[in-house]
């Protein structure tokens, strides 16, 4: 999608966010409403030049000269990383921090193209051991308990 379309739609999105913020802000108690209303109105005001500029070049059929990046370079790897993160965060409280983290690295690294199992396992082991030493033994920070240690 060319940059002008992106600017147009992001301008509209910011206008909606600004209007909603100001509209909700009017119900806040007395001076608690100053900044919400002000910020909302200002957001609406600053989104107008963006909408104006982009719609003008769209109507004039002038494509933007700005270099355009794809919204997502590689959807497959992008979604795989996000999916692994969601599974990791969901499993964390019940499986335990160190086990889940180790499994996360072992699964995601090959998905992203690392094909040397010894390297993956070696780095995972060293990294998790370092984390355990620092967070569990030195700093004693409470982290989700491992499933095999939970009573």
């Amino acid at each position: 999608m060319p940059m002008t379309y992106r600017d147009f739609f992001s301008g509209i999105a910011f206008l909606i966010i600004g209007a909603t913020t100001a509209w909700m802000g009017k119900d806040f108690f007395a001076d608690a409403a100053y900044i919400p209303i002000g910020a909302g109105i200002l957001m609406g005001v600053f989104s107008l030049p963006l909408i104006w500029r982009s719609s003008r070049s769209l109507l004039a059929r002038h494509p933007s000269s700005q270099p355009v990046m794809a919204l997502v370079d590689h959807p497959g790897r992008f979604l795989a990383t996000l999916g692994c993160c969601l599974v990791y965060y969901t499993a964390l409280p019940s499986v335990g921090f160190y086990t889940t983290s180790a499994l996360f690295i072992i699964v995601l690294a090959p998905v992203l193209g690392e094909r040397r199992p010894v390297v993956v396992l070696g780095i995972t082991l060293v990294f998790i051991t370092l984390l355990y030493g620092l967070f569990a033994m030195v700093l004693r920070r409470p982290l989700p308990v491992e499933f095999f240690l939970a009573s």
């Binding site: 001076d31 983290s101 992203l112």
Partner: protein, 501 residues
């Protein structure tokens, strides 16, 4: 006073004190380099352990952790775009692009030298100007703080990025994110949508790591078999020697250190504001401002010397007036009280060795940064970039997860971080600058609280905001920046229309 200062030097140079300085600096660098861990937490954990020690040793540890963490925060900011501490936000602007360009070694070296210089200037200011600067603190009221926050917010929104309206929209988005939660003055809930999680608002660190650290990790994940970092990143060229750095950056260091010291003495202002204002000023004065944000080492030098110059000067109001300006200053006061010393003006006459010794320790740890930061920590941490990208992505994500989880011990924070990461990724692709969003979250609440306090004190008289001399000075400075940017934009438009015709 100078006699007491000289008498305290041998106290700071005792073996026990020197060991505590080295240990404290190393711990500080490590704590700063790990996102989620902060110097406040480290000092709070260390203080009870030092109960049986001499106060000089306890304060030596505090000084080391404090200065070390400020530099430590720049390491992941430069290498991974993850600010280790909130004060390292401005370091990411040019530090990370430098790493991507193959100048990671130079960026780390610049950060190390800049932190050390900032720390040294700040410690010297504490030693020589403390009583005089303490009076400046008292001249700042809510109206001045409001304008300081607006200045930081507007100037960065205008100066970062190419499009002023996009910068302002980013900043306002940050302000709105900062509004979520219970209002500190009236106690009313705002934009919580009846959700318990949102009552407490968004934690700055979660927003920060989400917006800054997640998007580059997702980009890294997308580039299979492609080298994300330049292999020559840590090769330092002949012109990058220490003397070369001093010759090139002394003006930036001087300017940023002065800004850092001035911001440091204001209670609650913090190293992040010092770094951002220093960065702004460096960009404004540079002959090539368009290179800022694309890997200009002056940006790193300004940000790092600015945030480190805030350190010792933040102790000025606490040591001279007994008013802690930030959490670390409050902990230092706590440490003094644990050891039976009463903070305040009498401290200088009753225990000169301890208080002046602490000032020397702050100076010595700033110098130690050059040795420990440059020779040990930088080389150690730089090794992580030699890891294959496919392994760097999951290990960085685990590091972020542990950093975020340890803030509140809540898994929901991880989902929130990921959501902010996706917002940051999208904003990046839509060419909206991210720095103003973070600044909005940080400075929005500061501006709001001080505006409302001003209104309460003045009984809703708006003119107070424009009539106090310091406020007026800040407004003039802000107007100058806005007008100069407007002038530049008009000139640029004139040039391009001429070229087109």
């Amino acid at each position: 006073m100078f006699e007491s200062l000289l008498n305290a030097l041998p106290v700071a140079l005792q073996l026990g004190s020197l060991i505590s300085l080295v240990v404290g600096t190393l711990i500080g660098i490590m704590i700063g380099a790990l996102p989620g861990l902060n110097p406040v937490m480290a000092i709070a954990l260390m203080l009870p352990l030092t109960y049986g020690f001499d106060p000089v040793i306890a304060l030596g540890l505090v000084a080391g952790i404090y200065n070390g963490s400020m530099y430590g925060g720049s390491i992941p900011a430069i290498l991974l775009n993850i600010p280790g501490t909130p004060a390292a936000i401005a370091t990411t602007f040019d530090g990370y692009p430098m790493t991507r360009k193959g100048q990671g070694g130079l960026a780390l070296k610049t950060a190390c030298w800049s932190s050390a210089i900032g720390g040294i200037v700040s410690a010297l200011a504490l030693m020589t100007l403390a009583p005089m600067l303490a009076k400046v603190t008292l001249a700042f009221g809510p109206s001045e703080y409001f304008w300081v926050a607006i200045f930081g917010l507007v100037s960065i929104a205008v100066l970062v990025g190419k499009d002023i309206s996009k910068g302002m929209l980013s900043a306002l988005l940050g302000v709105i994110i900062g509004l979520v939660g219970v209002d500190a003055i009236s106690g009313a809930e705002r934009y919580t949508f009846g959700t318990l999680y949102l009552v407490g608002g968004f934690d700055l660190l979660i927003v920060l790591i989400g917006l800054y650290a997640v998007p580059p990790v997702l980009e890294m994940a997308e580039k299979r078999n492609a080298s994300y970092f330049n292999a020559d990143s840590f090769r330092v060229t002949a012109g990058d020697g220490s003397l070369g750095l001093v010759r090139r950056y002394w003006r930036t260091w001087t300017r940023s250190s002065v800004i850092g010291v001035c911001v440091g003495i204001l209670p609650g202002a913090g190293g992040n504001l010092a770094a951002l204002l220093s960065y702004n000023e460096a960009k404004r004065r540079a002959p090539d401002p368009e290179t800022f944000g694309t890997g200009n080492p002056i940006g790193v030098a300004a940000a790092e010397s600015g945030n480190s110059a805030d350190n010792a000067s933040a102790m000025i109001p606490s040591l001279t007036l007994g008013i802690p300006g930030n959490l670390i200053a409050a902990l230092v006061l706590g440490a003094l009280m644990i050891h039976g010393l009463q903070p305040g003006p009498q401290l200088f006459t009753r225990s000169p060795d301890v208080v002046f010794g602490f000032m020397w320790q702050l100076l010595l740890t700033a110098m130690l940064l050059l040795l420990l930061g440059g020779m040990v920590a930088t080389r150690l941490f730089a090794q992580i970039l030699r890891m294959p990208t496919a392994l760097l992505v999951p290990t960085t994500l685990v590091l972020m997860a542990i950093g975020i989880y340890t803030v509140n011990g809540n898994v929901t924070d991880l989902y929130v971080m990921l959501s902010f990461g996706l917002i940051g990724y999208l904003l990046n692709r839509l060419a909206f600058p991210l720095a103003p969003v973070v600044l909005g979250v940080l400075l929005g609440p500061m501006a709001e609280q001080n505006l409302r306090l001003t209104m309460l004190i003045s009984q809703n008289d708006w003119t107070v905001l424009f009539t106090r001399p310091i406020s007026l000075g800040i407004i003039i400075l802000l107007a100058t920046i806005l007008l100069s940017q407007l002038w530049k934009a008009l000139r640029l438009r004139g040039h391009s229309s001429k070229r087109a015709s």
